[in-house]
Symmetry: C2
Subunit: 178 residues, 2 copies
């Protein structure tokens, strides 16, 4: 049972965004900016970074929903998401994305400078300042969303299928409702 | 040296907010909403929660700037901030704030439900749903800001006095410039 009252039919962060609309609006705008706004990283790559960080943090709701959102951007992406979540960054099949997923994992693991080794590997694979910046900020933001969702003990549907509809909606409409 | 190019005269998050203005605007609005917007928690209590989480995460820039912001809200607050940062939540001199600082420390430590014990202690000390919600979200948000600032290896001025001017400005003007 969640630690605070939320609308009962809305799992995970959904109940928090609706039940606490003042912060909810800004948190939705931040997700939209980071995952759909201007960036040299593709939407599927950004959704995969979000799902990967959430997976490292063992946040079931955020992993399920962002993995589903990434999967709904295309069949070849769906295979990549499944491979990375099962087998780690090397399974991404794209050296630059692999290197950025390692950067993201370091951000999730500790409040500390990302290692020079991980930054250099990302640069060697073609990442520029903006890609490194966006990766670190997305990873940091999911360390917030994950803690918000799990810290307040919100409900995460156990079945992977429960996230499929959410993922389709996020892939099609994004994070800010018109 | 920071991992990405930032305006050289701006330490900590300041260079990131200016150098990456798309995300910077939303991150500033989020700080304004959480630390200055509608909440049953006072501004000094919220700044202290931000400084305390940053201190737990050993983020020197965020600890220094938010402790300074809290201190600039009044002399009795300054003594409380110094006592909590030196000696922990029991030194807050306010049982409800002490309990909420323990909740915040749990959020900083792990992506996991805050313990029933910590939540019950906060309720026993008079905290309602909204206070618990706001505490968890502020703590989670600083787990993001701390990782953004330190992950990208931004510069944190070593001298405590360097934060005094920042704190005065944040106390007087908040996080969104007019």
């Amino acid at each position: 049972m969640p630690h605070v009252a939320v609308p009962p039919a809305l799992p995970g962060i959904q109940g928090l965004l609706v039940g606490y609309p003042g912060s909810g609006a800004v948190l939705s705008t931040l997700a939209q900016t980071l995952l759909r706004g201007d960036s040299p990283l593709s939407v599927p790559d950004r959704e995969l970074i979000a799902a990967w960080v959430s997976s490292r943090n063992q946040c079931a709701f955020c992993t399920g929903s962002h993995a589903a959102a990434a999967r709904h951007t295309g069949p070849e992406i769906a295979a990549r998401v499944d491979a990375v979540l099962a087998n780690g960054p090397e399974a991404a099949g794209d050296p630059r994305l692999t290197a950025l997923l390692h950067v993201a994992a370091e951000v999730a693991a500790a409040v500390a400078p990302v290692s020079d080794t991980a930054i250099q590997a990302a640069r060697d694979a073609g990442a520029d300042d903006r890609m490194i910046h966006d990766t670190v900020l997305i990873a940091a933001a999911f360390c917030m969303y994950n803690r918000y969702v799990d810290g307040l003990a919100t409900v995460a549907p156990p079945a992977p299928e429960a996230y499929d509809g959410m993922g389709a909606m996020l892939a099609q409409q994004g994070y800010v409702r018109g």
